[in-house]
Amino acid sequence: MLKKFRILFSLIFFTIITLSFIDITGFFRGELLLLTKLQLIPALISMNFLFIALIAVTTLIFGRIYCSSICPMGILQDFIAAVSKKKKKNRYFFSKQKLVLRYVVLIFFIIALWSGFALIPAILDPYSLYGRISSNIFLPVVRLFNNMLAYITDSNETYYFAKTQVFTNGILSLIVSVITLGIIGVLAWIGGRTFCNTLCPAGTILSLLSTKPAFRLSIDTATCNSCGLCEKNCKASCINSKHRDIEHDRCVMCFNCVSICRKQAITYGYSPLFNTKKENEGKVPETETGHDNGRRMFIATAVASSITIPKLLAQDKIDRLSSGFLGDNSFKKRKPVTPAGSLSFNNFTDNCTSCHLCVSKCKSNVLKPAVFEYGLEGFMQPTLVFEDGFCDIDCNTCSTVCPNGAIKKLDHATKKITKIGTAVYAEANCVVNTDDVNCGNCARHCPVGAIEMKAQSTNGKLLPVIDNSKCIGCGSCEYHCPTSVYKAIFVSGESNHSILL
């Protein structure tokens, strides 16, 4: 019964969170995205005390319900584990708590978070991991399906669907997400919730709160016959059936043990906090067990590779970018542009854990995961790339969805006057000079009228002049600039966003 409830709630929450990422109709916005904010790490980063308290109190009372039903990464692992269980039943076994590993990872996580090195939180935060998998793998599948429907409605000329680009996030982000899914998938296939009880910082924090939750599982030592069925079905590997003992801090409240126990010896209910005497009755004392070195190696390799592989690939892209010089390359020296609402470069890069929710929601396809624009620590954090679009002056979607507070909410009026960057003109690249033609496409498409064609070129044609006091850095000029390799007009990011009056 408890298990069924757990599955039901998990499915509902998982569906809502996944839809938040893969919905292409624009239906999921505002309050419907609340579940993405109810995630522990984003709530901690955005200092959303209400949600932190909610999660903490729930955990203190009921145990790690969060891990079983709210965390999408946890539920995804349960899906994989459910499939693996079909192949081989009773596949799990008790393993000793890897406390050192957990605390070391947590300490690293906290230091990184505190010092603003956001790559580590981005790699470890389960919500962000899941977000990137949804945004980079699931969303393209949905778009592919949408495009097939578009072909059908095109052929009968009803045009119900508009075709979209399928992969907008770039190949690196896709590779990283596939690798993440691969590693987590293998871990979940073999050991259930291994990730949650070793690397996951949210898991470790909640473990600290759930050493003795008020409501918890207990084994009735009188009826238990130590058959070990519960241990073999515990995804968290936290039941030691020989000792008739449950390590509550690792229990993720899946209730599999409750439903599988033939003797109904495992029950979930209120237990007083300090009755250790009674609880320890009937328990067999612990004996030292050997360390699981193989598994540890595997995890270490996995973490190491998930950091280095993208770095190597990114280096390749940088190399290609730096060769092939054509014309004025000041474009290369531009500063990355952070989305409106992020207040400043530092606020954004320190707080963003790259969940890619804003990337999924960006209608203009202008927010894309960065490669090295922010440096190594900002790998995969979204930045504005004006290749497939430009930032719509009337759109404030990204600022309304960010669960981390890396992008603070802006109303439409403020968004229109928030300066996120400055247009820079590189005259040597301009087609007016190189092709000897009239152009003015940048000025024609500037939504704030910051560009005027009034400077004289040597060939008697007009060149753009940028009024920096009007430019908000939306990138419309860069997107519409017809130059191919190095743009003649481009946006350089502002370190501190300002409001134009």
């Binding site: 592919l144 097939m148 578009a150 119900y160 970018l321 092939g324 152009c439 519409h480 017809p482």
Partner: protein, 455 residues
């Protein structure tokens, strides 16, 4: 140092690959659905028995003394492998040519720029299996590409080589549209003299020109020279009285001079085969069974001085339908002419851009798919799906907006849309229909931008 690729190129390649994958799936779906479509299955029997089916009606070219088929095969619009690209789907096109040839359609009209140069080569390959004297081949001197007499000589000898022939039955000065460029290329450079020399040598049997200019210039050409064996003009019921084309005037002048007329653009780039629902109704009320294209063809072939009507056929359905129209050809009678006039007045109310998709403007140096964008606009105009920004924002407006924006998004690559037009105006002089392309692109861009803003 070799230039490495822009990194974004590789990303696009991947996107492209996906697009092709999706495209492949979808086109196979489309292919299946088209196989089922009625128009094809009804006429399938004719395709199979084409060699024994009726032959198209012929008319005497009284200058050369030859019998020309009333339907000629235009080689500018062959089926292509990929939309927007010039590469010809050769296997399919070959089948179309064979079916046409076997029904007596043995006049083939190609030119230097068609399919970006691939048309001549393909026509040469396709006709090689037939005896040279059993078909008529027309080719043209690309006026705009001649800067000196060597250019002209080179182009002409290359054309013979590409078409794998020793002579052209019909040879035209291509797309004459201004007196100044005519005087420069044909008189000062001496290209006309060279072509007359070729005629003497037997490499050209009949010399003429194709025309896209003003009535005054046309008059000049007919008055100054009496060397024209034929003239090719744009003629169709849309342009007969059209203020810009004045096809009717040109035709009358040729009739007076006793010069046979070969007709191009009888459907105005397919426009008259599609029309719009209200106009279609006018025709269907009169005869529900025949195609809209057949009306347009019969209209031009009704003029007695027309010896051949060219049709740039792109599918086997076009070929079969046209052969049907021209087998035992019947001119339009008085009542039918009234129907055409009525339909025309209904059609002209929507004011489409007069693009024939000749692609002379392409490739646009800044990547705009000019004929594609105009086509999306015209089609939506024809089905009354171009939203009027002044109309109330009701359900009907929303539907129009959806159809208009989505058809634009789905048919035109985002890097080939109207907003990419920088107003360089290089296309303006190239357009034989005198469309102010940059102005149109501006209009389209603004309309799309304001519609998107309302979302």
């Amino acid at each position: 140092m070799t230039l490495k690729k822009n990194p974004s190129d590789t990303l696009i390649d991947r996107r492209h690959a996906i697009k092709i994958m999706v495209g492949g799936m979808a086109s196979s779906m489309l292919y299946m659905s088209s196989c089922k479509s009625e128009s094809f299955s009804n006429k399938k029997s004719i395709v199979n028995s084409s060699s024994t089916a009726g032959q198209v009606t012929t008319r005497l070219d009284y200058k050369s003394g030859k019998m020309l088929p009333l339907l000629g095969f235009g080689c500018m619009r062959f089926p292509v492998i990929q939309r927007g690209k010039p590469d010809i789907d050769e296997e399919y096109a070959m089948q179309m040519i064979d079916v046409a040839y076997n029904s007596g359609v043995n006049y083939f009209d190609t030119a230097w720029p068609y399919h970006e140069g691939l048309s001549e080569t393909f026509v040469g390959k396709a006709l090689k299996k037939y005896p040279r004297e059993s078909y008529f081949l027309a080719d043209k001197m690309p006026t705009w590409a001649v800067n000196n007499i060597e250019d002209a000589k080179n182009i002409f000898s290359q054309q013979l080589e590409k078409c794998q022939v020793d002579y052209f039955d019909y040879y035209l000065l291509h797309a004459l549209n201004s007196q100044s460029s005519f005087e420069k290329v044909y008189e000062q450079i001496g290209t006309l003299e060279f072509l007359q020399q070729m005629k003497k040598e037997g490499k050209i049997k009949n010399l003429g020109f194709s025309f896209h200019g003003s009535v005054e210039f046309f008059e000049f050409l007919l008055e100054k020279y009496d060397i024209w064996d034929f003239v090719q003009i744009q003629l169709n019921y849309f342009d007969w009285d059209d203020a810009r084309q004045q096809s009717g005037k040109l035709y009358r002048m040729l009739e007076e001079k006793n010069i046979p007329v070969i007709v191009m653009e009888p459907l105005r780039g397919g426009m008259l085969a599609r029309l719009n629902p209200t106009t279609e109704k006018v025709f269907k009320e009169n005869d529900p069974d025949v195609s809209l294209a057949s009306w347009a063809f019969r209209y031009v072939a009704t003029f007695p001085n027309v010896v051949c009507v060219l049709s740039g056929m792109s599918t086997m359905e076009h070929v079969v339908d046209n052969i049907n129209t021209f087998t035992d050809f019947k001119p339009l009678d008085r009542n039918e002419l009234l129907v055409v006039n009525k339909a025309l007045s209904v059609f002209k109310e929507v004011k489409p851009e007069p693009c024939t998709a000749c692609r002379y403007c392409m490739p646009c140096p800044y990547g705009v798919d000019i004929p594609g964008v105009i086509d999306v606009y015209n089609k939506n105009l024809g089905t009354f799906n171009v939203p009027n920004l002044n109309s109330p924002r009701d359900e009907e407006f929303k539907r129009k907006k959806r159809v208009f924006l989505n058809s634009y998004t789905n048919h035109i690559d985002h890097k080939a849309k109207a907003h990419r037009c920088i107003n360089c105006s290089k296309c303006v002089d190239l357009c034989p229909q005198d469309i102010d392309i940059p102005k149109f692109m501006r209009k389209m861009d603004n309309l799309v931008a304001s519609l998107k803003k309302e979302a």
